[in-house]
């Protein structure tokens, strides 16, 4: 463990203090001088064509861009393909996208060091890499044409997949030249375009490549995998987290026609059957008793109550818990006088993807193949390798579309993947096993956005701006089980408060975090820490503005100016202008504003809200985003629309509760989500930028909650201090 380790960030975001520098191979910790990507790729098949691992060009001129990132809605496949097509000068209509296999050495997320999608980084980490790949392939075509036509390379133009030489009148498409281009030497340092000359990036021509397949039923998800001789597995899980199988009786289950076998595995009892319905009936006929000695038996109310006591000082931290300062300046002890105080509560949230978690695994002697929507293939390889006893790099993964993830398919334990591999190992002989979770399985499996509790105490200066800011954050860590242990500061718990322009503009700051553990597994959930920090910061600011008697947009402008937060100022100004902030809202509607930076992008929203029978109704939402270079304006808008719905769904209705350790929600009747008639109309405006691209998948999620709460503050005079707004 003392060997020098190359540190590489992993997990939810690129800038997080999370490291993996070693890999677990067959349960043993192996450290070495090579990078994790290299180490984890031992045993992988590497067979790329002349244009490298990201580009294939066929004799018919079709350009295939190989995506190292999974597509589960974010539109990254369109963006990644557009980066290549731009530098290659390909014909966009002849560009298609293919999913990369799991080979960390070549397909690692450049911000994580392992292959994986997360932290809204798909485009940003690929930007330089794919520009170079496209430019390199373009140079190879130019060299091939120059040789073939005996003309200077500098006189050759490339447009829409066609090379031409004006003086000689010669021209040829990629398809005609591909055999020669494949023999050309890739340039050592390919020349990238001046972004001013981009003809595809930033235009409305960059559209999804998968809309047709996703509108005619042919898009293939894990749920749709049909392989010869495949078995379907369902697993009876313990009703409480941490409980184990004590005993089980499979006699009745085995009587169900179609049920093939019943196995005990670490996570429960698995029924394998010839079809899904038989597996489900078989599981219902199982009799399992559980040993709950080590189970989490607390209710969510009890967990939150302790968080409140910790924050207020009524309860003392245990010997495993400690307060940790993450933003501090000045001397908080000198603060005197009247203060604004507020406390905020956030519940457990389920990701509730439309496609419940699932996986297909085949295990044979020295062989394992997974076919599913893998979000962090390298971690899934590692966890599979530990179970079957082989090198992670030789675990084959075919990644399919996933019916949403929002973080759920990325976890250090590969929970549902490991479960499927355990069953496939029992079945053996490389026989395919598809693990199917029902909605209820998915809801009860945990990996929730953790409960969070914040307290805020702010004093104002004579002009009404914060003079001191004290904040306490209580929430469970997401980093438990990280391959390299707990980071010094779990930024995922405080990002958004950490680095807030409001704290920059405040002379005295004392912000501290404490992270009690529980038996409830928790996980990143679209926009991660910002799911609660954005709400606390933005709703607090409106309450402070109200106390100071100032307009909330003007109040923010003053603070951003003081903090030098120019990007915040720009999105705020754009949203205010487009929403007509200084003009009256339409009759019956009240506006609320919020601004938040996450994953490198800054989003401002102004929401029009009214109360309909006591329930908030959100109409028009004007959104302004600075996400650096905009590759696909339409997909950025799509992510703002979707992110807004996801965030609004949680703020309005989202809540998982535990009663004596048992999850009380099972399906969409008890875990309410936003429906069509409740969805707002989102307008998206993009701040022009020459910076490298930053995230769009997550930054649209955390802003709507506080924007709505701020509108309600104006409408009713009351703050909204806990989520969800609509209690079950």
């Amino acid at each position: 463990m003392n060997a020098p380790v190359k540190k590489t960030a992993i997990a939810g975001a690129t800038r997080r203090d999370v490291v993996i520098g070693a890999s677990l191979v067959g349960g043993a910790l192996v450290v070495g001088a090579c990078s994790p990507g290299d180490l984890l790729s031992v045993g992988a098949k590497e067979d790329f064509g002349a244009f490298g691992p990201f580009i294939k060009i066929a004799p018919d001129g079709v350009v295939t861009v190989v995506s190292k990132h999974i597509e589960f809605g974010q539109g990254n496949h369109a963006g990644l393909a557009a980066i290549v097509a731009e530098e290659l000068d390909a014909d966009w209509s002849k560009v298609r996208v293919e999913q990369a296999p799991a080979i960390a050495k070549v397909y690692a997320n450049t911000g994580m060091g392992v292959q994986g999608t997360g932290g809204s980084s798909a485009i940003s980490n690929s930007w330089d890499q794919l520009r170079k790949a496209g430019a390199s392939a373009r140079a190879m075509f130019v060299e091939a044409a120059a040789n073939k036509w005996s003309v200077p390379a500098g006189e050759i133009a490339v447009k829409d997949g066609v090379l031409s030489h004006a003086a000689s009148g010669k021209s040829a498409g990629f398809g005609e030249l591909v055999a020669d281009a494949a023999k050309a030497t890739p340039p050592a340092t390919p020349t990238l375009k001046d972004p001013k000359t981009f003809t595809l990036i930033g235009t409305d021509r960059v559209r999804r490549k998968d809309s047709r397949a996703k509108s005619d039923g042919t898009a293939k998800f894990t749920q749709d995998v049909q392989l010869p001789n495949m078995l379907i597995a369902m697993v009876a899980h313990a009703p409480k987290f941490g409980a184990k199988v004590a005993s089980f009786d499979a006699a009745e289950a085995k009587k169900i026609p179609g049920v093939v076998e019943v196995y005990q595995i670490p996570s429960g009892v698995a029924v394998v059957a010839e079809n899904t319905w038989a597996a489900k009936q078989g599981r219902e006929a199982l009799k399992v008793t559980w040993n709950e000695d080590e189970a989490e038996k607390r209710s969510s109310d009890a967990i939150l109550a302790r968080y409140k006591d910790l924050a207020s000082g009524k309860a003392q931290p245990s010997d495993k818990e400690a307060w940790q300062a993450f933003e501090s300046k000045g001397d908080i002890a000198t603060v005197k006088g009247e203060a604004f105080e507020a406390a905020y509560d956030f519940p457990f949230l389920a990701h509730a993807t439309m496609e419940p978690m699932n996986c297909v695994a085949q295990v044979g002697v020295g062989k394992a193949k997974l076919t599913f929507g893998s979000q962090i293939p390298t971690i899934d390889q590692l966890n599979t390798a530990k179970i079957v006893g082989m090198l992670p790099g030789s675990v084959e993964i075919e990644t399919l579309f996933a019916g949403g993830s929002f973080g759920r398919r990325a976890n250090f334990q590969s929970d549902y993947v490991a479960e499927c591999v355990e069953i496939a190992k029992k079945v053996g002989k490389e026989r395919p096993v598809k693990l199917v979770w029902t909605r209820e399985d998915d809801m009860a499996a945990g990996y929730f956005r953790p409960i969070a509790h914040h307290t805020v105490r702010v004093t104002l200066d004579q002009d009404g701006y914060p003079a001191s800011w004290r904040q306490r954050v209580v929430t469970q860590t997401l980093m438990k089980g990280s391959p390299m242990g707990q980071p010094k500061l779990d930024e995922t718990a405080v990002e958004g408060t950490l680095g807030s322009p409001y704290l920059k503009a405040t002379p005295i700051v004392d912000a501290q975090l404490i992270q009690p553990d529980s038996g409830v597994p928790v996980l990143w959930w679209r926009s991660v820490g910002a799911t609660h920090t954005a709400y606390v910061m933005e709703h607090t600011i409106d309450q402070l503005a109200k106390k100071a008697g100032k307009d909330p947009v003007e109040y923010r402008r003053a603070l951003y100016t003081k903090a030098g937060a120019n990007r915040h100022l720009a999105v705020l100004n754009l949203a205010a202008e487009k929403a007509g902030w200084t003009t009256p809202a339409p009759a019956g509607w009240t506006r609320g504003v919020a601004v938040h930076e996450s994953f490198g992008s800054v989003v401002a929203q102004i929401a029009e809200v009214k109360l309909d029978g006591g329930v908030p109704k959100v109409g028009r939402v004007v959104t302004a985003i600075d996400c650096g270079t905009a590759i696909s304006p339409d997909q950025i808008a799509s992510q703002m629309e979707g992110g807004t719905c996801y965030g609004l769904s949680a703020a309005m209705f989202g809540q998982v509760t535990l009663k004596d350790g048992v999850v009380e929600q099972g399906n969409f009747d008890s875990y309410r989500v936003l429906r069509n008639s409740e969805a707002p109309t989102v307008e998206t405006y993009i701040v022009p930028s020459g910076n490298a691209p930053s995230g769009v998948g997550e930054p649209g999620t955390p802003v709507i909650g506080p924007a709505v709460a701020n509108a309600l503050l104006t409408l009713t005079g009351q703050p909204t201090l806990s989520q969800p707004f609509v209690k079950a």
């Binding site: 809605g73 997909q635 399906n667 969805a679």
Partner: protein, 162 residues
């Protein structure tokens, strides 16, 4: 005991027990996997198909209940249905998992009501959850398809391409 179902204009023999939900017969036995499993209890709409032109949740519909009916799945729309064209034009899908169900609910809506109002769309589409939040584009695409002459009536499904 075999039963014959009329799916996308074809009589298809199925072996499943009569009380088996249509969803699993379509997916596991007939390999028509465009119809999705989302909740199993008619809460999310991902499994929506048309039965005699009406939107039905296949996950709670035993096959014996539809033995005498005409069943249309997403595959039965043929790919060039005005709704499918509108879906592509607006780039409605994100993850795409719920979209077969969204389109089938919309197809049933336009079959009964070729010129739906906003309230009609709300009422017809509230049973279809989309966690990606494509609702705004779903509404736009339905309105777009409703103004396309070929969409009215949308009752005659084309046979699935084999």
């Amino acid at each position: 005991m075999a039963m014959t179902l009329d799916v996308n204009g074809k009589p298809l023999a199925v072996k499943a027990a009569p009380d088996t939900p249509l969803l699993w017969v379509l997916r596991d036995e007939l390999q028509l996997t465009g119809t999705k499993f989302g909740c199993g209890v008619a809460q999310c709409g991902a499994c929506t198909v048309m039965v005699d032109g009406q939107a039905v949740r296949a996950c709670v519909t035993p096959i014996e209940a539809v033995a005498a009916s005409k069943i249309t799945t997403i595959e039965g729309l043929g790919g060039a249905h005005p709704l499918q064209q509108a879906w592509v034009k607006h780039d409605v899908p994100q993850c795409g998992y719920c979209q077969s169900g969204q389109i089938m609910s919309a197809a049933a809506l336009l079959t009964a009501n070729p010129k739906p109002t906003d309230a009609d769309i709300d009422a017809a589409m509230d049973g279809n959850i989309c966690r990606c939040g494509t609702y705004q584009r779903v509404r736009a695409a339905i309105k777009d398809a409703a103004t396309t002459p070929a969409a009215a009536p949308a009752a005659a499904p084309q046979p699935a391409k084999a």
